[in-house]
Amino acid sequence: MSYSMWIILTASLVGLSCGLIGVFLILRKQAMMADGISHTVLLGIVLAYMVTQEVSGPAMLIGGIFAGILTAFLVQTLSSLKVRHDASLGIVFTSLFAIGVILISTSVGNVHLDVKHALMGEITFIPFTTMDLPLIGSIPKATALLLLVLLVVIFFIVAFYKEWKITSFDAALAASLGIPVIFFHYLFMTLVSVTTVASFDAVGAILVVAMLITPAAAAYLWTDKLIVMLFLSGGFGVLSAIIGYWIATWLDTSISGSMALATGCIFFVTFLLSPKHGLVSRWVRPAELREEQEA
């Protein structure tokens, strides 16, 4: 496969995993949690580096998952102590990120880890570190990791589809039916963390946030069916990866930045033109119908 195909494939995998996870992020009203976790994952990676003294896939993954769950746990704890949820998140993620930055600037030095890289990502270099897989052959490491993560994400979404639905829609009912709501909260946060860490090295924290939230938000304006929303959101993620790559080549600029822009463009077009919940629907739909629905 050609160099650019690998990049598009890698970014598409990010778009697909993030798009699926993003649907539940939005429905569970935790979009900003993605922003928080995408930052605190830095701390996890630094800690993993300090323990193992190397930047390896598995160690990073474990470090990132640890940081993600720690974030979710601390936010949950503060919220249960009556600190407003958004304030809790703001306090936790900035503090953990600050610790990460201090650790980098003092003990870890500049060994492959710098804040800028983490935030912006360097997808350009992805195709250069490869590994061999049976049947498939030589494949970039980051791509293989993302493929694995995508399978994990799909597995959990399919296996617990109805549980995700009910805990997202009506947690009180779920609890009264004996469904472990807290467990699913943490399982979900783990999935967000796994997706974030795997995407992190490839595309950087900011694009992860864009890929997690924006395609799902666009899908939310197109449909009223959860299953359709999942497919649309994943599709938008892949589309953003392709359009973004094209923009980046055209302007000769950051690939992940362009992909983030592409997610924004898709959302904006949706926001204006979606026949269901876009701006245009307000003008096109006859007034009587709206009244009937609102009655």
Binding site: K29, F169, D170, L177, G178, I179
Partner: protein, 254 residues
């Protein structure tokens, strides 16, 4: 002989510094429909939530059929206030009703055709079958409440807790809900309803519990639904319209 379903003993709970429930004790018998009434801030919703373990209790004891809530969970249905969920959620009415069955369906399984039928029957009972595939945000307030009720019916519980099911619904929905409640009662189920409209109490409920932080009166409606009990529970908060024994009363705080 009626046996006791709920046994609440000396229950108290607080919100931060304020005690909202104090020394609440009562029993509820099988096959009754009880209205929980009291002024705003009397702790009606808190009482339900505390009994269901959704709000921490300070002291006291709650038991269902002599067991803890955990052991009795499967036989209890809860209808929360309509405002407690996001009606923009991408799902339709039938799907929401099916959710009532998720506890019974079990892990790693999707709802079967039979489950869907059960949910559909519950919708039918509430007169909502033609709305089964409508997105829930496109239902009116009364229709949303019917969907919630249908979900509780699908749960097929023995004991139901309902938090203000009649608040802000149209007359036909109110009628439909009350028909269902009467039907539940005749099937031997037990229902506790937080209720805000005193005027309809004698017509709808066979038992009434006056609550204002603690229990002021509790028993069969005919016996305890008196001017005196209403006055003491609501304090000076009430306004009497009309005269004599006609219960035309309004809470001035509404």
């Amino acid at each position: 002989m009626l046996s006791s379903v709920i046994h609440v003993d000396d229950l108290s709970a607080s919100y931060q510094k304020n005690k909202v429930l104090n020394d609440v004790s009562f029993e509820v018998k099988k096959g009754t429909i009880t209205a929980i009434v009291g002024p705003n801030g009397a702790g009606k919703s808190t009482l339900i939530k505390t009994m269901l373990g959704l709000h921490p209790k300070l002291t006291g004891n709650v038991s269902f059929w002599g067991n803890s809530f955990k052991a009795a969970k499967k036989k209890i249905g809860y209808v929360p206030q309509r405002g407690s969920v996001d009606w923009d959620f991408p799902t339709d009415a039938l799907d929401v009703v099916t959710m009532g069955l998720y506890g019974k369906i079990g892990w790693f399984r999707i709802p079967s055709k039979k489950d869907k039928e059960k949910a559909m029957n519950a919708l039918k009972k509430m007169g909502m079958e033609s709305y089964a595939h409508r997105q829930i945000s496109q239902l009116s307030g009364g229709q949303q409440q019917r969907v919630f009720l249908a979900r509780a019916l699908a749960q097929d519980a023995e004991l139901y807790f309902m938090d203000e099911p009649l608040a802000g619904v149209d007359a036909s929905t109110e009628k439909a809900i009350m028909t269902i409640l009467k039907e539940l009662k005749s099937n031997g189920k037990t229902v506790l309803v937080v209720h805000h409209d005193l005027q309809t109490v004698p017509e709808y409920f066979d038992h009434v519990l006056f609550l204002n932080k603690t229990v002021y009166a509790h028993g069969e409606t005919e016996e305890v639904f008196t001017k005196d009990n209403i006055a003491t529970t609501y304090g000076g908060d009430m306004q009497w319209v009309g005269k004599g024994d006609q219960y035309v009363i309004q809470s001035t705080s509404h």
